[in-house]
């Protein structure tokens, strides 16, 4: 199929579905058509710019684009167009890719079901047995659905606590969150800087890998981006025989975190997890129980840290220099009212307001020590947990940290395999209508630890075949592979072993 055909088909799908995946879809006509035709020519001549030359790639609407609006699904930026492109957008365009539009999300990335959007909820392509709409997962739900519904070749999302992996699991796509700092965040609207990671969604791991290889470069405009010298250090470590042989000539040691077997885990997800492990074992890899004791505090720590950073990052939205400003005096109508109260009160949705308030509280002088500082300590423990079970050392771990780990008593695993989410996608009506925000937060329980530790993690879809024990027809679940920092390739490769597998019990 020519690239043009493929693009036209995506375009048709964008306009055919009412899934609300896009806030700004691709226009029917435009310069992009010529760019795809040129890419077709380059492909015919055997000279494509890259693996994504002429392909449509959707961009989550919290990643800045010069030519299309960047709303973050927020009322406060509902008419905002950024004066610059995010580095990842520039990188994709330089590789010949065409921006397929801007995808819907939970406002500023805050949510687990892509329902907290000024532009309405995203709908999953899948429906439940009764034909009711399901959650697409969040916050990159629009990007995941766009991929699932063939509205683009691949999509960029952002993953702060699971926002790429969870929608991938719910939509049956592949969602990859690279190691923190590998992909540039310049032009990515910050939710929680210390956790925010650009992630990639695709139908297959191979397309995710194609996009990743284009974006995985140093960018000096992002101060948290890994420098070129650190990248070479990681690479040369990975080329040592012991690490290079993993999966190629030696079988993998796969870790199964005992703490992840929680009561909230639904039978179908547990089944998918067990069958995936069994499948890997059949391939000759070995399974090892590991303990990540800090996991049970990870979710709480995440919901202290991320809102704290969010309350700070979102202080800039006041409608003064850009963005939407409320009419009339902006001081609550009172001479002594609070500055920007109207603009921020009207511009932000309920979930964003909730997290700003949470963060404002946990950073306040009286709460700081007990919440923010405590959560940072938990974050450190989560990192140490992972370092204790991985055979490969963290490339940036201080020498003093490494000494503490007694390798003889730990599992020395290469990757960890676990579910992405504890349950299949809930009904949209259940998550939209007055359910407790805490229920939504629980969906992040398996994705948050890798975010806190900055580790690479991928969610791949596996199908549990219909059986007596599993009466639900062909249930699809997301299985997550987590690796040591810098082990992004290995994580994708292991994901590929499971991706799309139909597993019989």
């Amino acid at each position: 199929m020519s690239l043009l055909r493929e693009a036209e088909r995506c375009l048709a799908n964008q306009h055919a579905h009412t899934l609300n995946a896009f806030i700004t879809p691709l226009p029917r006509a435009g310069q992009w058509l010529d760019r795809v035709k040129e890419a077709d020519q380059r492909r015919e001549q055997g000279n494509p710019k890259s693996a994504v030359d002429g392909r449509l790639i959707s961009i989550k609407d919290n990643i800045c684009t010069r030519d299309l609006p960047t709303t973050c699904a927020s009322g406060i930026l509902d008419k905002f167009t950024s004066p610059f492109n995010a580095t990842v957008v520039d990188q994709l365009e330089a590789a010949g890719a065409v921006i397929a539009g801007k995808t819907n999300l939970d406002e500023f990335g805050m949510g687990s079901h892509s329902v907290h959007s000024r532009f309405g909820a995203v709908k999953n392509l899948r429906r439940d047995a009764d034909g009711r709409d399901l959650s697409a997962g969040g916050s990159s739900g629009g990007s995941a659905v766009a991929v699932a519904a063939d509205q683009c070749y691949a999509a960029l999302g952002t993953d702060t606590g699971g926002s790429v992996r969870l929608p991938a699991a719910y939509t049956g796509t592949v969602g990859f969150k690279p190691s923190y700092g590998l992909l540039s965040r310049w032009g990515v609207v910050a939710y929680a800087n210390s956790l925010d990671t650009v992630g990639i969604l695709g139908k297959k791991t191979s397309s995710v890998r194609d996009v990743f290889s284009i974006l995985n470069k140093h960018d000096s405009r992002d101060p948290t981006n890994i420098t070129s010298s650190s990248r070479s250090r990681i690479l040369s470590r990975l080329q040592t025989p012991r690490l290079a042989s993993r999966l190629t000539s030696t079988p993998l040691r796969i870790g199964v975190p005992l703490e992840y077997n929680i009561s909230e885990l639904t039978p179908s997800v547990r089944q998918a997890w067990l069958l995936s492990l069994a499948h890997l074992q059949e391939q000759g890899h070995t399974i090892h129980p590991v303990s990540l004791p800090a996991t049970k505090h990870a979710l709480s720590a995440y919901y202290v840290l991320a809102p704290a950073e969010a309350s700070s990052n979102l202080a800039k939205y006041d409608g003064v220099r850009y963005g939407t400003r409320s009419d009339g005096p902006d001081s609550d109508g009172q001479p002594d009212g609070y500055l920007y109260a109207n603009t921020r009160g009207n511009g932000f949705g309920a979930e964003v307001q909730r997290r700003i308030l949470l963060g404002t509280f946990s950073l306040s002088a009286d709460a700081m020590d007990n919440y923010f500082i405590q959560a940072q300590r938990v974050r450190r423990l989560v990192q140490q947990d992972f370092n204790a079970v991985f055979a490969a050392a963290h490339p940036f771990a201080a020498a003093s940290d490494a000494v503490e780990i007694d390798r003889s008593t730990t599992a020395n695993v290469d990757v960890i395999v676990c579910p992405t989410a504890p349950s299949p996608p809930p009904r949209l009506s259940d998550v939209s209508a007055g359910s407790s925000p805490l229920d939504a937060y629980v969906n992040d329980v398996f994705t948050v630890p890798a975010s806190l530790a900055g580790l690479p993690a991928i969610s791949v879809p596996v199908t549990v075949a219909e059986s007596e024990r599993n009466p639900d027809a062909d249930e699809v679940a997301g299985i997550q592979v987590i690796g040591q920092y810098g082990d992004d390739e290995l994580v994708m490769n292991v994901g590929e072993l499971l991706e799309g597998r139909r597993l019989d019990s």
């Binding site: 930026l77 950024s82 610059f84 948290t224 979102l314 202080a315 006041d318 902006d330 500055l339 700081m368």
Partner: protein, 587 residues
């Protein structure tokens, strides 16, 4: 500073419907003169009499104030700590490459990050560290090998991000000190020297400049946003208002001398906050503890003082307010207060300390600042001489200046006057490389006098700001040289200086030559003849001098000689000598 918007430049015009102001704007200064003019009109007091009365009243008031100050000092101990914000002399802003120039078109020097655009990130400009380090070294601080940046949150339209990036938890410099000496203008009761410890020095961002156009418009100029600042925090160790002012003045002088800043308070490049507390002497120590110093009274903070006088006056006023409150049985609230120049009382800005919770948070985008020992030592070596050592040097044998001349030379025009003086001295030195020390010191003293007083007088008279090109150093050096060599007279030197000041660009030697101003020394015979002419005008006065020893009257004859003699040829000392000889017969 805001000007109408010219076209062509990137700019942002922001209209803010007048919101709640977290920080009230300063009131325009009130001018007391209106009142006196009115009373003059109604009472018809002659102007001269009125002026006399007012001067007298002012004097009496000052005396009264001095006495009451002394009385309150006996009863109450004042404690003051100072915080200085100084704009660093840097090319770029703290976290963007935008230039720092303050005189450019409003909103023309603004990067995406300066305006807090979504998705923009900070880019720490390492060069801004150099002036900050020079300041910290000059203030004898311990430079911290690792320091960090934090966000200080508050909403205000001059703060685009909703937070200021500062160094709250781990500043880059700690534990310094500044010595204040008697010649720095400390209060006499503080003796000859006061050492004020510096708690910390931190790097932070400046805010935007805002201008209000009532009733509903504010213009914002973001050129100043993120201009690098250092905040210097002293320990609460100052006990007199004059010494607090001297401390701020000294800090400014040090910052200017080490090249950390380009402008001082008068240009808005330096702002001071002071915290003030009092406690009654001889009673139990106070309950409060600040920066590790305990036993203090509840303190208040006075923000945004923009002159040394304002520092002193505001502290006096706040101290008196606190005394009045306590003596009437009241309680001091920990609050932030403001001061308007010319007023007699500080005014409340906002309530209790802690009412504003800045929610300090480590900035997650900015990596820790790691400062190497090698950088510190190379900066320490290249640091210019401190003002104190300059005073010692200028008053020493080499220059021989008085302390009264040395101080203004160092302080005037942000050090430019001293630099000019040094240029003049260098040129003089090059003219006479082998001078003996005594002659050299006489020359440097004379040069000091001319740079400060003669040239300074012309500047004052013409009401012009300092500019080292008005009278080139070379021209002044030539003048001083000719004068010292007695090749011109003092009055000619002054006349030529005025000519150069007014724009005569001829080299001084040529000017003197062409205008025939070089001294052609008169012979003894000529002096005697001239003296005899003037003595003959008033023989009775000659008699009075001789008989009644009224030597003062000699001056009249000297003046006559200078006037009658050929212009530029009569040298006063020689004329005096001849007069004495003729009148008193002394050799």
């Amino acid at each position: 500073m805001l000007r109408p918007w010219p076209s062509g430049a990137v700019r942002v015009l922001c209209r803010v419907n007048r919101p709640f102001l977290a920080r009230p704007q300063a009131n325009p200064a009130r001018f007391p003169s209106t009142r006196s003019l009115q009373s003059a009109a109604t009472d018809r007091v002659p102007l001269r009499k009125q002026l006399k009365q007012e001067a007298k009243a002012l004097k009496a008031q000052k005396k009264l104030r001095k006495e009451s100050e002394e009385a309150s000092r006996q009863d109450w101990e004042l404690t003051v700590g100072v915080e200085i914000h100084a704009q660093l002399d840097t090319e770029a802003k703290l976290f963007s490459r935008a230039p720092t120039s303050t005189s450019d078109t409003p909103n023309s020097n603004v990067a995406l990050f300066d305006l807090a655009f979504p998705g923009s990130q900070p880019e720490f400009q390492a060069a801004t560290l150099l002036p900050a380090l020079r300041a910290a070294i000059a203030l004898n601080c311990q430079i911290q090998p690792v320091s960090r940046f934090d966000r200080k949150h508050y909403f205000y339209q001059d703060q685009p991000a909703g937070y200021q990036i500062t160094q709250y938890y781990e500043p880059f410099a700690r534990n310094g000190y500044v010595d204040l000496l008697d010649y720095d203008g400390i209060a006499p009761e503080d003796g000859g020297r006061v050492r004020v410890d510096i708690k910390q020095v931190q790097l932070e961002q400046d805010t935007a400049k805002s201008q209000e156009y009532p009733p509903a418009t504010q213009l914002l100029d973001f050129n100043r946003v993120s201009h690098p600042l250092i905040e210097i925090i002293t320990m609460p160790q100052i006990h007199t208002p004059a010494t607090a002012a001297a401390c701020v003045r000294k800090l400014q002088a040090i910052l200017l001398a080490c090249g950390a800043v380009t402008t001082g308070m008068e240009m808005g490049g330096l702002r001071a906050d002071v915290n003030v507390s009092i406690r009654r002497r001889g009673e139990a120590p106070g309950q409060h503890r600040y920066d590790g110093i305990g036993g203090l009274g509840q303190r208040t903070e006075i923000k945004n003082l923009s002159s040394f006088k304002a520092v002193e006056d505001a502290i006096v006023a706040e101290k008196n307010r606190q005394i009045a409150v306590l003596e009437s049985g009241g309680v001091i609230e920990g609050e932030t207060r403001g001061w308007t120049i010319g007023s007699t009382e500080t005014r409340r800005l906002r309530g209790k300390e802690g009412a504003v919770d800045y929610r300090y948070m480590p900035d997650p985008d900015i990596s820790p600042l790691v400062i190497g020992e090698d950088l510190i030592s190379s900066l320490t070596e290249s640091l210019p001489t401190s003002p104190d050592s300059l005073v010692t040097q200028l008053t020493g044998a080499e220059y021989g200046l008085s302390i009264e001349d040395a101080k203004p030379l160092i302080e005037l025009d942000d050090g430019a006057r001293l630099e000019y003086y040094q240029d003049v001295v260098d040129i003089l030195q090059s003219l006479h490389p082998d001078q003996d020390p005594q002659t050299h010191a006489a020359l440097t003293r004379m040069a000091g006098n001319w740079v400060l007083h003669e040239l300074g007088g012309l500047l004052t008279k013409a009401d012009r700001a300092w500019d080292d090109t008005i009278v080139p150093a070379r021209a002044l050096a030539d003048l001083v040289d000719h004068l010292q060599q007695k090749r011109i007279t003092g009055s000619i030197a002054k006349q030529v200086l005025a000519a150069v000041f007014d724009g005569d660009r001829r080299p001084v030697p040529r000017l003197l030559e062409e205008d025939n101003l070089l001294l052609r020394p008169m012979s003894r015979e000529e002096y005697v003849a001239l003296a005899e002419t003037v003595l003959a005008q008033r023989p009775e006065m000659v008699e009075q001098i001789r008989s009644k020893n009224q030597l003062g009257k000699m001056g009249w004859f000297l003046g006559q000689m200078m006037r009658l003699g050929e212009k530029g040829r009569v040298e006063a000392p020689k004329a005096q000598e001849v007069l004495q000889e003729l009148i008193l017969g002394k050799q």
